[in-house]
Amino acid sequence: MTEKEIFYLETGRESELFEETWRARLPLLLKGPTGCGKTRFVEHMAAKLGRPLVTVACNEDTSATDLLGRHLLVGGETVWCDGPVTRAVREGAILYLDEIAEARADAIVVIHPLTDYRRELFLDRTGETLEAPAEFMLVISYNPGYQRSMRELKASTRQRFVGYTFGYPAEEVEIRILCGETGIDEAIASKLVSIARKVRHLTELSLIESVSTRLLVDAAKLIGRGLPPRFAAAAAIAEPLTDDPDALKAIRQIIDLTL
């Protein structure tokens, strides 16, 4: 884990909430669109609280086995190998399950005993029950707008968590994030943010996932390395957003006119 402080710009009172939730030994649910800084925030808080961080990016194939651990065969013997959740509980780490709603139902159920007063983890394959130490904290994230109607987090799971919603940062904050993150000059940063704010209007048409701050950071990094701004912005903003040829052309128009 990195010892140095991680750049993070507060957009609300999230740090305060995180810290108190951690002290109260409650689990935390972070909501928000992709690339709005959820992961960065958790990294920042883990460093601030001086705890190791275990991150698991969940996908639709993530199963209970992937999280808890499995038996491996070594030289004719079976050997138990801890999964990331088990390891995090043993170490008293901050466990971050990213996009938990994507994981399979059995994977979501195994974390249930960790989320209530028991704070336990039961390993059915080894018959072991682990009690989470005081420093352990479970943080999960999910993106409510993404894959709507099918991958919703069940109410029985959600209600175990303290929740916080991230939005896209305000214009000035987003400009400061770009400058702080990449050292780019403010004029370029504000233009990138102006492009993003226009393209975000398209999200209502559900044509594209919206422009995340992360994409802007990527564009700023490329521009900072000396690539021509229009080229860099097209590559870092337009291309990752959509494959639709008309949408691509329209976004490029905005980029060409602004930069």
Binding site: S63, R70, G76, S149, L202, L205, A247, I251, L257
Partner: protein, 572 residues
Amino acid sequence: MSSILEWEENLFLGIKALYRRLVVSPRERNLAAVRAPLEPLRQELFLLARMVAGRSVAIVETSQTVLCDDEHLFLPSGFDAASSVEGNEELFRIKTLLGALAMRTGGLHRPGISLEDLTGTLTAEFPGLSERIARLEKSLAGRDLWTLLGEPSCRSSGGEVVQSARTGETETGAADEEITEIEGEGRAGVEAIEDPGEQPVEAEMPIHTFEKAETLEESSGLDRKTDEEDELEDHEEALRSLEMTQVMRSRERPRSIYRADLVIEGLHLEVGGEAPSEGIPYPEWDFKQRRHREDWCFVRQTLARESDVVWATETARKYRSVILDLRKKLASLATRMERKRSQPHGEDLDLDAVVRALVDSRAGQAPDERLYVERRRKRHDVSALILMDLSFSTDSWIDDARVLDTMRETIFCAGEVLDEFIGDFAVAGFSSNTRRQCEFHLIKDFREDWVGSRARLGSLVARGYTRIGPSLRHAQELLVRESGERKIVFLLTDGRPCDYDRYEGEYGICDVRKAIETGARHGIMTHAFAIEKRAREQFPRMFKRQHFDVVPSPRAFVESLCGAFARLRLGT
């Protein structure tokens, strides 16, 4: 034709053709060579306008040189003022951009300040703009850019604009096909009177329309020209105050629809006569007698032959993003997990394989290394039949779109994706004209190739009534023969069961419910999609909760179809 013309006329026509070929055409050809049409750019321009304006924007195709009004951006069908195709395309982009800026919330445009002056204030936001405008002006060969673009209009959009927006959106229906529809208040105790000039039921298609016996002029004093014109909108006010007490059946095709729930007295709709010789007989549920009427309806199955490839290509382009979205979502739903033993990789050890391997190695043999259990995705074994309502009521408009168009575009999107995930599916349309003539119009049979049959959707026409029961029973009959582990009928309709011979109200609803129950007993699930919001009243009585959705557009259908699949997967 020309043989009956006088020789002078022939001569004149000949000279005119020659003149066109030698003088006019080259000039037109030059213009045609540099002309940039709106259509291929339309979606790009729409997105551009949406981003810049920051609110909803509609593009209206018009020959007037107006820039925009509060909601609409006016663009011509093509530009040919610039000396190159690129220049004319640029003209479209600049017009869109400036129009969107003028429409932007807060509004840049104030009376008395020209558009040209305004663009000067935009350099901070769009530094590239003035350079592009300068380049564009050079390619215009002396024509004034600002005249070409037009000024923003202050007037708000009128009915005429809405009309042209409609024709622009749906290229399938000709303008004169448009029908205005107004929702009226329901009324009970309406008397049906015979039109003296009207023959009673004939063999040809009866149309369930009624003209108000007392004319509108009498009711309101408005001057009404002819029945052929679509002027219902003008009469809307008058209609609102209309007392619907007597109605008359008419065989004419409606130009305007005033839709109201009426409880009609003294109307004999039962059609007598013998059963027809052709068609597959199906029973129908009589809810009053609480029994099936055996061999009551006769279904004729036909296979669609005509197709419209242009429509298919256009729809594929128009809904590209919807189809991609649907595909992405169904990818995870339309498959299921399967445990495979003795695999080289996997999540768990296969204990049997481990024991075997240990025995082998103790016995001095090379052990098999495939020791794991792996979970794999497997395609669902589903047979599906998509059944769409083709009745006349689908020819009406809801929210600027014809119901039939919305339905077939929806099915097109579904078919594009189902083709990939469940190989075994069929598409059919249905309509009826009394119980003796139920049409089951097969658009894609189970064995047919989707790509080869999808264009048939484009050539569908609305006809007849909505007798849902027999077509549902026939669809179930076809599905029973299929091999899928799970079987489902997706039913798309715009409303309620109704047919000429009293297949309506409680009777129709109960029959549909019965057909669904019967299907369920044979393992065939029915999921209904309604296009109309009014269906919210009728649907719950026919379909169980969670087994129907009301969808306003193909895009909303994506969500619904995924939900239906999710439930299918869970087996509920």
